[in-house]
């Protein structure tokens, strides 16, 4: 090869390297854009991560099926699968403007619902749908809540001002759906007609958390305006506000007369349900995105410390840290449990799903190491 040709190739190599450097920034390699959702039913765990949804044996982590069987480019699942008793369906929400219904036993598709004129970049289903005995209510990042029947036929659409990243909540008290949006509002929607029943005052910041409703009709939401807010579902007025140190991302969780909330600065709060007064707070390290799991007098939640280091924190109901267990990956998903095994799903880690016993010892990880 003469010098001239060599220089030409060197130049081409330089620009290819530049292209690869840019490509590395784009997430075209397999990096997570969301975090897994976990659902447990009997001895099966269903969870979504990236291009597929998996059904695994809870006892040993063996895969029963994956949907789709082979990963497809441009198809991503991060919302937790949801059961619909009607016709024995598992409802899967994807990033490509489609809701899938599959058979929970085999993973075979029953039907799909595609947002009419949906734009894959805009119409992502980020949060899980709410399934009631009436219909499926799927929130989308195209600002709309879609109501679909159990055969995938659209019923109505409810529009908010900004993307919806949180699952709606069913309220027995008002027999309606509570919906939060990044447009700063909480909406009460009639499940039959999709019409607006009432709308909260401006909550001060975007909301990406699912509302929690107490037995006494108190609706709790966390906001990016650094607040936990309680509204009365009868008067629709704000009952109390609690100021956090940073964006409150995780959904508040009601546990008796206590409310558990957290923020991205890593502070975890226990508040009095009726007054919003602080009961205790801890800062175990790292930022908190996921809602908590409460089981056997213990509170479980994940914190993301830095890069691919996280921690599973176990706290007693009076605020004493029992365990602060390092985990590889980004732990943004709420832990789940069948009452015995604790499941965690770190993003961008060797194992997408890890089963732990009550002492924190790993029972199995998925995918298996030799895969």
């Amino acid at each position: 090869m003469n010098k001239k040709t060599m220089k030409k190739y060197l130049f081409i190599l330089l620009i290819v390297l530049f292209a690869l450097t840019l490509g590395a920034c784009t997430g075209r390699r397999v990096t997570a854009t969301g975090w897994s959702g976990i659902t447990i039913k009997e001895d099966i765990v269903y969870f979504s991560y990236g291009p597929q949804v998996y059904a695994l044996d809870l006892n040993n982590g063996f895969q029963k099926w994956a949907y789709p069987e082979e990963a497809e480019s441009g198809l991503d699942f991060y919302a937790a699968p949801v059961f619909a008793d009607e016709d024995n369906q598992l409802i899967l929400a994807s990033y490509n403007s489609t809701i899938y219904s599959v058979d929970p036993d085999t993973g075979q598709k029953k039907w799909d619902f595609v947002i009419p004129n949906g734009d894959n970049e805009k119409s992502r289903f980020i949060a899980s749908p709410l399934v009631t005995d009436q219909a499926i209510f799927a929130p989308s990042s195209d600002n709309n809540l879609y109501a679909i029947d159990f055969a995938g036929v659209p019923l109505w659409t409810f529009e908010t001002g900004d993307p919806i990243w949180a699952s709606p909540t069913w309220s027995e008290g008002c027999e309606c759906i509570y919906l939060t949006s990044m447009d700063h509002f909480l909406y009460a929607v009639d499940p039959e007609s999709g019409s607006l029943l009432w709308k909260s005052e401006d909550l001060g910041g975007p909301v990406v958390s699912q509302p929690a409703v107490s037995e006494d009709g108190l609706i709790l939401v966390s906001t990016f305006a650094n607040e936990i807010i309680a509204l009365d579902e009868k008067s629709h007025q704000v009952e109390w506000r609690y100021h956090t140190s940073d964006w409150a991302w995780a959904s508040p969780v009601i546990d008796g007369e206590q409310v558990y909330a957290s923020d991205l600065s890593g502070t975890f709060y226990a508040l009095d349900l009726n007054s919003g007064d602080p009961l205790w707070q801890i800062q175990p390290g790292g930022s908190i995105v996921s809602a908590v799991l409460v089981q056997d007098d213990l509170i479980y939640f994940g914190t993301h410390i830095e890069k691919n280091t996280s921690s599973l924190v176990v706290v007693s109901r009076d605020g004493v840290i029992q365990r602060n267990q390092p985990i590889n990956g980004k732990l943004y998903t709420s832990p789940a449990s069948d009452g015995d095994t604790i499941l965690i799903a770190p993003a961008e880690a060797e194992f997408y799903l890890i089963a732990l016993n009550q002492s924190g010892v790993q029972i199995w990880g998925f995918p298996p190491s030799d895969k």
Binding site: G34, M182, G204, G205, W247, L264
Partner: protein
Amino acid sequence: MDWIWSEFIGLMITILLFIYDLIGQNFGWAIIIFTVLVRLVTYPLTARQMKSSKAMQEFQNSKEWADIQKKYKNDKETLNRKQMELYQEKGINPLGSCLPLLVQFPVIIGLYRAIILTLAVTPIQLVNLSSHISNGTDLIPINNHFWWMVLSEPERYPIFGIGIPVLAILVVITSYIQTKMISPPQTAGDPGGQGAQMTQAMTLYMPFFMGYLAWSFASGLALYFIATNLATIIQYMLTGQANFKNILPSLPTRK
């Protein structure tokens, strides 16, 4: 190193968001204004590049240069050695016009990363962005629409059902004009020399390479490419360095 890079990206995000908020939450214009600011800040480098380029051009038109080209035309090795000696003697760095260009590569990569992070259309991206805007929740969600484009995605303009990559085409055109305009005219003494070869390769490959990037990556990056190409063309025109003859050979030669 990671820390420096992260701070660099963080600074870019902060400036982008500041401009975005200042101009009424339009991310397309924020990218364009940010590009102009980057060009102003890096102007000393551009000026150095132009100066180096001009010095090189004058030197390669000199009798001294022509003489050694003629004398050693059949002995490339000696010719290269003599050329390097002459560069040293005259205090000219043959890479002087390339280095400032290379410095801009991290800026382009950093800006691209900043655009993708700032547009935050997925939960993990928004968690990452949150550390840069703890007090600016009114900015969320970022409006990623600009004219017909979604800035976080590759652009296609639908015409009769076919998605035409308008921005990528504009990137190729403006890159070609820009590369041609800033290239010195080919010297009589060195028609097949290293400099001329490099210039030819740049003129040929670079616009298509930039066009490929614009076609396949987020349209926010394509917008940056077009803005920076136009800014460079205007900069060269304002300083009288633009070589219009490279684009329109029928123009009279500039004295």
